[in-house]
Structures are given as structure tokens and as C-alpha cells.
């Protein structure tokens, strides 16, 4: 087991123990185990989106004083991506670009072990209704490292009837087609040249040149970087004793390498696949999302809600989603339930084309950037199993599923336990 995985496992255990034995009020500690299995029964036959994703996550909320609350989390997961589909026999070695040479052999599954940790601080200055929440984030897996800083601020106005909030998140990611390694965590291993992705003149056919192909191949072996800024403005509003509303708008700007290492695009001659080409995407992306959430409680302990989001970006993706939900109880304060259904419609990026006949400056076959509709849903059951004085032991069980119109579907489950005191 690699050192970083041992350290993560130790932190996971420590965090769970610390959260259980901290002696303050308004505290909680939780451990969740989850699994998600995804199948690819359609779409592009030369892309395999099969996936098995499982892991554990521990989180705590520890009130140190009336002014300071800590929110540490750590998660360890395993991702087993499906093997690459067989290269079409009509694609000859003579016409395969650097992309497929870097992509590895057909058939073999790829495993990743992402480790994610974060620490948040809620600071409530005495005598004010203000909450300041700085935090940091770190995630590591063999071919991807992400580091981040977060900050949010909110204030209670009109006796808590209105809570406007502002948050900002920064992520600095390093990714590669190979293995990041220890020094890669610090971004040391020779930066990749991203100059060939400058600008956005996407509809131009690009000339094949020997030197350029070699340059792209070299870049795939180096470290690529990605910087993301996320700014969000929102508010939560009590409309009446039965209604609560939350609305926000967020903007994300990403710069750097925005594709996936080893991703390929299948080019065709008519309907016959003849070439696997590199995925090429612009090196920046502007993303906007509006969210509107409403909850209504006709009876104590029972609520109905609807969440909406509208997203668009400068790659041409439009995504609209709505999620009605309901929450109630079997036995008040002891056994509760929550169910939800989610529908989303996505209009895909203009860089994705049906049976492209030539290589374009920007091109992708990533199904997640395509056009589809998604139906999803799930249920959560929540049991207050026992309590000893102020301490409560809670168990939660959840199941969820998604189904996409392009043939990708998946099911998952979660088993969690939480202590509050």
C-alpha cells in the first residue's frame, strides 16, 4: 500500500475517533460507506463508460468555542473504470495518432484511488450575525492532484429571515496521462506546453504535421495544470412560517488543460471508423449557473421541495435540471425518510460531432459533454437508533439511480452512521 494511502487511512480512523470523543455541544461525527456502479449500454461504441466507484468518507463538526467551529473531512475511494473497447479493425496502425498510442491496450480496466481531505472553519465574531468560513482542500490520485482554498461569508438580516451569502473557491489541479508521483504533488515534473490549444476558432480543420503530433505526444507525458475560480452569490429567505427559499448564481472560470489525458476522438470515412485522434478542447471555459430552491412544510416534520438549476457555458453546453423531493417521518424524531426525483436536459457542446469525417481544431467524444436527458432518483432512510444523554447515534441508508438517454445508467447505495452531541 503506497505511503499516501496509509496516511489517508490513518487520518480517516483518527478523524472518526476524535469526532466521537470530542466533548462539546453542537458536535457531530459521521462515517459513510458508498458504492456506485455505472454501465454503458449505448452511445459511442468506441467509448466505454463502465465504472465501479466505492469508498468511505468521514466528516466532523466540532464546536471549539462560541466563536469557532471546525469542519474536517477525509475520504478514500476506489474507481475501477471499464476497460477500453477494442480498437476497430478498420483503424490501422498507420493511421493511429499519438492519442491511441498513449491510450494503452484494449480491454484492461484502470484503477484509481482518490484521497480527498478538507478543513473548514466557521468563525462567528462575538456580537455579530456574521459567519466567516475559510477552508482548504486537497485531493490526490495517481494521475490527478487538486489543491484548493475556499472562503464564504454570510450574515443574518431581519432576525434571520434573510441570509445573503458570498463564496469563492480556488482550485489548482495537476494532471497527467501517467503517474503524478510524490514531486508531482508540488507541481514539479516539467510543465506541458499548452500553446497549441490557444484561441477558439473551433470550426477550422487542422493540418496534420509531423512536428505537431510529436509535440502533442510529449505534452501528454508531462504534467498539465488547470486553475478554476468559482464565485457564488446567493441568499436564503424565510418567506412565511411554512416556506423557505434559497437562490444563488455562480460563475466559474477555468484555465489550462481542460480535457482528459488519453481521451480520443473517433474519426470516420462515411460510417467507417478510420482514425483515433486526440481530444482537443479550448484552454479556457466560462461557466454560469443559476439555482433556485424552494421548500414548503404543511405539517411539522413534513416538507416538499423543488430545486432548479439552469447552466450554460461558452463551449455551448446548456443544462436545465429540476428536482422535486419530499421528506417526512415514520416515527417522529426516530425514523425519517426522504425521496427525490431529478430530471435534467442537456444540449451538448459544439465540439462534439456525430461521425466527424475530419480532424477539427477542437473536438471531443466525451459523452458527458454531449446531448442527453437524465432521469435520476433515490431514497434516504434515517434512524435515530439510540441516545445516551445528549449523544445521539444515527444510522442512514440510501439508494439512488440514474438513467441517461444515451444508454449510460447506474445504481448506488450508501450506509452511514453519525453521532451528534
Amino acid at each position: 500500500m503506497p505511503v499516501i494511502h496509509r496516511v489517508a487511512f490513518g487520518l480517516l480512523c483518527s478523524l472518526t475517533c476524535v469526532s466521537l470523543y470530542a466533548q462539546h455541544s453542537d458536535n457531530s461525527g459521521s462515517l459513510d460507506l458508498y458504492v456506485f456502479s455505472q454501465q454503458d449500454d449505448g452511445g459511442n461504441p468506441y467509448q466505454n463508460e463502465d465504472l465501479l466507484y466505492y469508498g468511505a468518507r468521514a466528516a466532523a463538526r466540532l464546536k471549539v468555542s462560541d466563536t469557532l467551529t471546525l469542519r474536517p473531512t477525509i475520504g478514500v475511494a476506489q474507481i475501477e473504470a471499464g476497460g477500453k473497447p477494442d480498437t476497430p479493425s478498420t483503424v490501422t496502425n498507420a493511421t493511429v495518432t499519438s492519442a491511441s498510442q498513449q491510450g494503452g491496450a484494449s480491454g484492461g480496466a484502470t484503477k484509481y484511488t482518490p484521497i480527498t481531505t478538507s478543513m473548514g472553519f466557521d468563525i462567528k465574531p462575538a456580537g455579530t450575525k456574521l459567519t466567516l468560513s475559510p477552508g482548504f482542500f486537497f485531493s490526490y490520485q495517481d494521475n490527478y492532484v487538486s489543491r484548493g482554498l475556499d472562503f464564504s461569508a454570510s450574515i443574518e438580516l431581519f432576525n434571520g429571515n434573510l441570509i445573503p451569502s458570498l463564496s469563492y473557491g480556488l482550485r489548482y489541479d495537476t494532471l497527467t496521462s501517467d503517474t503524478i508521483g510524490f514531486w508531482g504533488i508540488f507541481g514539479i515534473a516539467g510543465e506541458a506546453d499548452e500553446g497549441d490549444h490557444e484561441g477558439e476558432d473551433e470550426e477550422e480543420e487542422e493540418e496534420e504535421e509531423e512536428g505537431e503530433e510529436e509535440g502533442a505526444r510529449t505534452a501528454m507525458l508531462g504534467l498539465r495544470t488547470r486553475i478554476s475560480h468559482n464565485l457564488q452569490l446567493g441568499f436564503t429567505q424565510i418567506i412565511s412560517p411554512e416556506w423557505r427559499l434559497n437562490a444563488s448564481v455562480q460563475y466559474t472560470r477555468q484555465d489550462g488543460y481542460l480535457g482528459a489525458p488519453n481521451a480520443v476522438v473517433t474519426l470516420y470515412d462515411g460510417n467507417t471508423p478510420v482514425l483515433l485522434s486526440d481530444e482537443r478542447l479550448p484552454n479556457y471555459r466560462n461557466r454560469f449557473q443559476f439555482n433556485l430552491r424552494v421548500k414548503y412544510s404543511p405539517l411539522l416534520g413534513l416538507s416538499f421541495g423543488v430545486d432548479h438549476s439552469a447552466y450554460f457555458d461558452d463551449w455551448g453546453i446548456l443544462n436545465l435540471a429540476a428536482e422535486p423531493s419530499a421528506e417526512g417521518f415514520f416515527v417522529r424524531d426516530i425514523a425519517r425518510w426522504r425521496v427525490w426525483y431529478r430530471f435534467s436536459y442537456q444540449d451538448g457542446t459544439r465540439f462534439m460531432r456525430d461521425h466527424p469525417q475530419q480532424k477539427f481544431k477542437f473536438q471531443t467524444d466525451d459523452p458527458d459533454l454531449g446531448s442527453f436527458t437524465t432521469h435520476g432518483g433515490g431514497a434516504l432512510f434515517y434512524f435515530d437508533v439510540a441516545h445516551w444523554g445528549p449523544m445521539h447515534w444515527i444510522v442512514r441508508v440510501s439508494g439512488y439511480a440514474i438513467s441517461r438517454s444515451d444508454g449510460i445508467w447506474g445504481i448506488g447505495a450508501l450506509l452511514g452512521t453519525e453521532f451528534t452531541w
Binding site: S30, D32, Y34, F36, R57, Y112, P114, S139, Q141, Y144, S146, F158, N159, N161, L162, S167, Y168, G169, R171, S228, H229, N230, Q237, I238, I239, S240, P241, R244, N246, A247, Q250, T252, Q254, R287, F290, N291, R293, K295, L299, L300, S303, D307, S309, Y311, D313, W315, A321, F329, R336, R342, S344, Q346, G348, T349, L380, R396, Y400, I408, G412, G416
Partner: protein, 76 residues
């Protein structure tokens, strides 16, 4: 641009009207339903974490309904 502004105008008006509700205070003693767990947003952190991973990875959007995301781990 004008078309975009026109299409957004009704939504902005609704948001502005709802924001003005801040002046109509709901008193603390009227908040029994609101303070219940059923009326909180994002109450179950573990479930929300897993859902955000799955949904944000399966769509080209930012995912979720308001939690700030700015890129993230490679498991997406």
C-alpha cells in the same frame, strides 16, 4: 444580448420580489416547522457528497443546486 435580457427579466423580477419579502419578518415563535430537519437544505452531508460526485461527473454542468464547486478531484 437584448433577447437574453428580455428572457431573464421575468426571473429577475421574481427574485427581486422574493428578496423584498425580507421586510416581512417571520417571528422566532412562528418557526417551529422551519427549524425542523425536514426544512433544511443539504442536511445529509454524506449523501450530498456522493450525489454531487456522481451528478457533476455525469453532466457537463457544475452540478448540484448551489454548493460551490470549482473543479475538484480526479474521481470526477
Amino acid at each position: 444580448m437584448d433577447c437574453t435580457l428580455r428572457s431573464l427579466a421575468p426571473a429577475l423580477l421574481v427574485w427581486a420580489a422574493l428578496l423584498c419579502q425580507g421586510c416581512a419578518t417571520t417571528q422566532f415563535y412562528e418557526r417551529e416547522n422551519l427549524n425542523d430537519r425536514a426544512m433544511q437544505f443539504d442536511q445529509d452531508g454524506g449523501v450530498n457528497y456522493v450525489r454531487s460526485k456522481i451528478e457533476a461527473a455525469r453532466e457537463g454542468s457544475l452540478g448540484g443546486f448551489g454548493s460551490a464547486e470549482a473543479g475538484g478531484c480526479g474521481c470526477q
